[in-house]
Amino acid sequence: MTRHRLACAQVPLFPLAARLRSEPDLRDEAVAVLAGHGDAARVVAATKRARRAGVRAGFTLAQARARLPKLIARPQDEECERAAQEALLDVAESFSPRIEDAGDGTVYLDVDGLDRHYRPRDGDGDDGGAELALGREMVLAFEQRAGLLARVGFASSKLAAHMAAQQPDSPAIVDAGREAEFLAPLPLARLTPQASTLGTLEQWGIHSLGDFARLPASEVISRLGPAGEVLHAIARGEDPKPLVPRTPPPAYREGLELDWPLVNLEPFLFTARAALERLVGRMQRRGLGCHRLELSLDLEGDGHHERSLTLPAPTRDLKTLLTLVRLDLEAHPPGAPILAFRFTAHPDQPRSAQMSLFGPEALSPDKLATTLARLFALLGPDRVGSPRPVDGHLPERSDLVPYAPPPPPRERPTPQSGCGLLAVRVLRPPVPVEVMVTGNAPADAPPPSDPDPAAHPAPSRPLSVKSLLGEETRRRPKIQGAVRVASGPWGLEEGWWQENPTTRDYWDVELSSGGLYRLFRERTSGDWFVDGVYD
């Protein structure tokens, strides 16, 4: 029977390793991770420096501090461990598409056939040399990409691979078919049987896996039942359960429980940056971009703050994401000190562009998405987009739609010369001005029925224009001067069915200063405004 080769990657002292991944500055310090609260808290893992000073697992904090007063204590952080486990799985997936999440810093990989892609070093020998090379690559990748020091073991069964990963020399190889031989000297407790089963076996005088494996299978089944059958198969180096491949997560999460509450935004962003960096790195390894980013904050006093940021297109630009988080928190402050945070990134495939041989180049969708997200963060979504004509009459009307340029033509059209259109620079909102007019008939006088214009007086014409002084107009263009030529008026009416319709009389005026403006008078109020400059 052909048996699959499996690899097991295990991170020793996983709670500590996960914590140090989130706080890499503590790697060289004497640190202990404690589980539990108050006096019941016990050390579960400690760094080498702390262990050298005598700190052991199971100590209370007081006992540990008695041995090492400068010991840095950290609580066991589920968020950190979950993020570290996901990072471990991500790196494992870059080696094999079939991996099983065993939890607590352990992952199984189906490495059948992978050894063909790795060349053994000189002196490794032909048997297992390629697996050794693969194991070294894996150890290096776990350290560099996930920030975790993992040990790797190879075997044809999960227990054998797991036991091999606990060997001091990593990577360790158990040759195919020799799993039972490798497991034989190990104590029976490694099988993690039920206490009653373990007691029964010890009463029989069986203390090692080898002793147990030598018993006839049928006798074991008749006395211990199905549970005994499973344990016996494992002891013989066989896997009763196959490897269960992991399905990729729908979202990526990174977070941290803080040691002390953070009140200000800057220190929070400093901490959040590291988490976002890890998040972006994990998505990058799978060639994905963040389509939606969710931020969950645990606040002092059992408060909770949730924010969701939707990006215009998938991106994995760290600076953009961090800027978006900053702007969003500035606009929506949590209102209480932050105790813990968690980012959840919903991934999506980045868009790709079709290259053209003869036509204009298309924009890179990935770069465009990043740029749009950055502009949104900088200016807000109402100030970035593609202009769209609007049905209506008011000259200042405008609309924005999301920017999504159509694909460029296959061939570049022949360039045409421009039409030489005189553009109007719209002033939004219109600049209020003071206008001196001639004292004839008002501009909104009803049109004469007599077709002879000479028989009727001309409407009031602007003589001079001057910007109104005030705080609102201080930063607006200064418009002042005598009117050299005026042309108008032309009426504009919009929304006559509404309560406050817009009714204006427009003039084109050239001032003595040389400026050419579009001027209007509100018929209802009689106020004058400049809403455009011919330029």
Binding site: T371, S386, C419, L421
Partner: protein, 293 residues
């Protein structure tokens, strides 16, 4: 060369004369052909005078500055956007003054779907936006600083230098339109625009209609051959310009008022002969406005 010449003359005898006439070019002919073809490094702005002043168009990978208080600066920006987008390129307008009229831009031939319109509030935001957009390597980015006073002054020269360097790296033609010079020494070419005259039609005080605007372009920095040479430009009001074919095909929009066709709102319409002229404040809406006279 002396050793090669007998071989070359022998080779020349082997090639039929009519084949050589049809298929072979001398070096001088190749240079002439190359000069006649538009360079891929130059982006035409669609304004002949401006292209001539720049030596063929906006150079990709360089910062150009167009300065001047009036004379059609914004019209020129729209023409450049129209030329780029009609050619299938994407373009950006960073509009510090928020002065774009989408209806008018469409009339000018700008393909609005290809234009990224960014409306910053200050010069600092405008520069940051330009820097962000430069990363996309859009062929044309126009930065219009609006009318004076510019919110944020002239900006730091280092910012302009960074923009120029980034434009060079990304091979982007960057056009800065400003009422006064802002980019210091970083611009590849600086063209000043001055208003020449305002064209009015009609006689007397009561029958004047705006016809257009004349301006004069003068390169103040750039190619030595073209510096200080004035180039005239002329801009015409929308009613005097043939409508954009794309716009002409568009379905007429719903009218809000009972309107009478304007005298100058449509191309080719007869000019009103009455003393009180009828026309629109804006080209696109011109045909839908009711003259009160």
């Amino acid at each position: 060369a002396a050793a090669w010449s007998p071989w070359m003359s022998a080779l020349a005898h082997l090639i039929p004369a009519d084949f050589a006439r049809r298929h072979l070019r001398t070096g001088r002919e190749l240079v002439r052909e190359r000069q006649r073809q538009p360079s891929e490094h130059l982006l035409s702005t669609g304004v002949k005078a401006f292209d001539a002043a720049l030596g063929g168009g906006l150079r990709r990978g360089a910062l150009h500055e167009l300065s001047g208080r009036r004379g059609g600066r914004f019209s020129l920006v729209l023409e450049a956007l129209a030329a780029a987008t009609a050619g299938g390129d994407a373009a950006a307008l960073i509009d510090l003054g928020d002065g774009l009229d989408p209806q008018l831009a469409k009339r000018a031939g700008v393909v609005l779907e290809r234009v990224l319109w960014v409306r910053p509030r200050t010069l600092k935001e405008a520069l940051a936006s330009a820097e962000a957009i430069l990363a996309t390597a859009m062929p044309l980015i126009t930065l219009d600083l609006g009318l004076p006073p510019i919110p944020g002054g002239r900006g730091h020269e280092a910012s302009w230098l960074r923009l120029a360097r980034q434009a060079q790296d990304q091979r982007v033609a960057l056009l800065v339109s400003s009422p006064y010079r802002v980019s210091g020494t970083t611009a590849h070419a600086v063209v000043e625009l001055r208003q020449h005259r305002v064209g009015w039609s009609g006689e007397g005080a009561r029958a004047r209609l705006l016809d257009g605007l004349g301006g004069q372009l003068e390169m103040v920095k750039g190619d030595r051959d073209r510096v200080a040479t004035p180039y005239d430009v002329r801009w015409r009001v929308p009613s005097a310009v043939a409508p954009n074919p794309a716009e002409a095909k568009a379905t007429p929009t719903r009218s809000a008022t009972a309107t009478a066709p304007s005298g100058r709102g449509q191309a080719g319409a007869p000019r009103p002969q009455t003393a009180r002229p009828r026309r629109s404040p804006s080209s696109a809406a011109g045909s839908r406005l009711r003259a009160i006279a």
